[in-house]
Symmetry: C2
Subunit: 95 residues, 2 copies
């Protein structure tokens, strides 16, 4: 295993940063089982749709989710389920 460079850590941090928000964790968890359209995510989250859309594009840029269009609807799906394990590991810290 080679030593990690500053760039490695920066890349890692940018992905982690994408997850570092309650709403985005909720979104990622909701996408665990099935793909969901933005309007349904808006209802789940309870924020303005534009806000949810911003969170989604942030997650998309991080490579964590992708979208599939079906008529007017964009269905988002989780690309990297492994990040939820990470999130669960963090959730277990309270012990």
């Amino acid at each position: 295993m080679k030593t990690k460079t500053k760039d490695d850590y920066a890349a890692q941090a940018s992905v982690i940063k994408a997850m570092a928000h309650p709403t985005r964790l909720l979104i990622l968890n909701s996408l665990k089982k099935r793909e969901i359209c933005v309007c349904e995510l808006r209802d789940l989250v309870g924020d303005d749709m534009s806000t949810v859309s911003k969170h989604l594009s942030l997650l998309k840029n991080a490579g964590l989710v992708a979208a599939r269009r079906e008529g007017n609807w964009l269905h988002y799906r989780l690309l990297r389920p492994c990040v939820l394990k990470f999130a669960d590991c963090v959730a277990g810290l309270k012990d």
Copy 2:
């Protein structure tokens, strides 16, 4: 498994946010094998000691590290090695 609440996600996000910085990832990784004093971490990181100290107190508040004093030196150690697995999972995303 019960449904996660907003508070659950907020707590989780605050820990993840603590990790979401290149310098802090470097620090956490450096502490994987052994405890390290602040002055050595400063050399590893290359930033001002006050900056490193702030990163450390942030990690401490998140419950990820703890310090042990030995004379003038404060030795930090990793409390939650599991978070590094998470970080490695994220690092593997580039495939």
